[in-house]
């Protein structure tokens, strides 16, 4: 049965990923049944640091709707890190690795 992209049944995924810098990134998300799957909702938690702290919501927003594809995810996370934000304890590759581990 055909489904509309982004509205198909959500599938819950989660993973914990230890960043090279030593901090833990915990990803919980729901993904669509599209090919490739799209991130429908996402929550990133953990013991890392981000300045300003509220930027975590921008990152989650930026990843919502993203295809679960390494290149696409890397581009979005890189865009976020290139902005006016300092992330301490995890880098772009760590965040992408955490997302892919959850995928």
């Amino acid at each position: 049965m055909p489904t509309q992209p982004g509205t198909s049944g959500a599938d819950a995924r989660s993973a914990d990923y230890k960043a090279i810098g030593g901090k833990l990134l915990r990803v919980r998300m729901t993904v669509t049944e599209d090919r490739p799957s799209l991130i429908q909702t996402i929550r990133i938690t953990g013991d890392f640091f981000m300045h300003p702290e509220e930027a975590i919501e921008d990152l989650e927003q930026l990843l919502t709707g993203a295809p679960l594809d390494e290149v696409a995810l890397h581009a979005r996370v890189q865009t976020f890190f290139d902005g006016d934000v300092q992330v301490v304890g995890a880098d772009v590759d760590d965040v992408v690795a955490a997302l892919l581990k959850a995928a």
């Binding site: 810098g21 030593g22 901090k23 833990l24 915990r26 929550r43 990133i44 938690t45 953990g46 013991d47 890392f48 640091f49 981000m50 300045h51 300003p52 702290e53 975590i56 300092q86 301490v88 304890g89």
Partner: protein, 256 residues
């Protein structure tokens, strides 16, 4: 040039909600220019678990056990990990300064190095071989004795952290969630191996001596003079406000 004079606050034991609200109130007043740059030392009563800004409270904390044992749970303004603040077993400090204060690096990691340097100098005054371990830890004889966390907001820098006087990993891991029960004993053993305390290193804990050493350490690395002061009325009013809005508010503590 005359040394900058900072205010020293010794506020004793307070609840987690008052402690975190006072840290924010002081930061806001320092930024507004109504309070001087401030170094504060405090304790926790009752004991509490604080979690980092980005942590999920239910992911990290066993809320039922905390309730049973009368341990408060609070989300910090700062990132980092979950910390068990046991009444009587920890001296906590906080430091609030404007973000354009001369000599404080704009890069967060560099500023940890500088500010934690005050604590390293303090531990050395206590005769301990302390070193800063990036990102945010201080080690003595290779074991963690202090964890630190920083936020930059409202135009200021707030850094707070723990000075471990005693370690109680059994109690700590009964309050924190662990992936499974089999791992709990391993985690406890890991803490006993990797974490130390002032009591373990020196044999005794004299809170006044520790605080005096840390004050001297900060005065040395920041080239400041500390002058004992009091919490202002404006700070007390702000404390009440941000405690209601944030720290004692489930919306804040359960937001992640």
């Amino acid at each position: 040039m005359a040394k900058q004079e900072w205010r020293l606050l010794l506020t004793g034991d307070m609840s987690a909600f008052d402690n975190m609200a006072l840290d924010e109130a002081v930061l806001r007043c320092v930024v507004a220019g109504t309070s001087p740059s401030t170094l504060r030392f405090y304790g926790w009563e009752p004991s509490a678990v604080s979690i980092g800004y980005f942590q999920g409270v239910e992911q990290e904390v066993d809320l039922d056990v905390c309730r049973e044992k009368g341990v408060d749970v609070i989300r910090r303004l700062t990132g980092g990990g979950a910390v068990f603040h046991e009444h009587g077993s920890e001296i906590t400090y906080s430091l609030a300064v404007k973000d354009d204060y001369p000599g404080i690096p704009k890069k967060v990691l560099d500023s940890y190095t500088l500010l934690c340097g005050g604590l390293v100098a303090g531990f050395r005054r206590l005769g301990l071989d302390a070193e800063f371990k990036p990102i945010n830890d201080i080690l003595v004889n290779g074991k963690k004795i202090s964890g630190n966390a920083q936020t930059r907001r409202f135009g200021g820098i707030l850094q707070h952290g723990t000075l471990l006087c005693d370690v109680n990993p059994h109690l700590m891991f009964s309050l924190l969630k662990v992936p499974n029960e089999k791992i709990r004993d391993k985690l406890i053993a890991g803490v006993e191996e990797r974490v130390t305390s002032i009591r373990r290193e020196i044999g005794t804990v004299d809170n006044d001596a520790v605080i005096a050493a840390m004050c001297a350490g900060f005065a040395e690395v920041l080239d400041i003079r500390l002058s004992l002061g009091t919490v202002s009325d404006e700070e007390l009013a702000l404390l009440t406000r941000v405690k209601e809005e944030r720290y004692a508010n489930p919306t804040w503590n359960f937001r992640r």
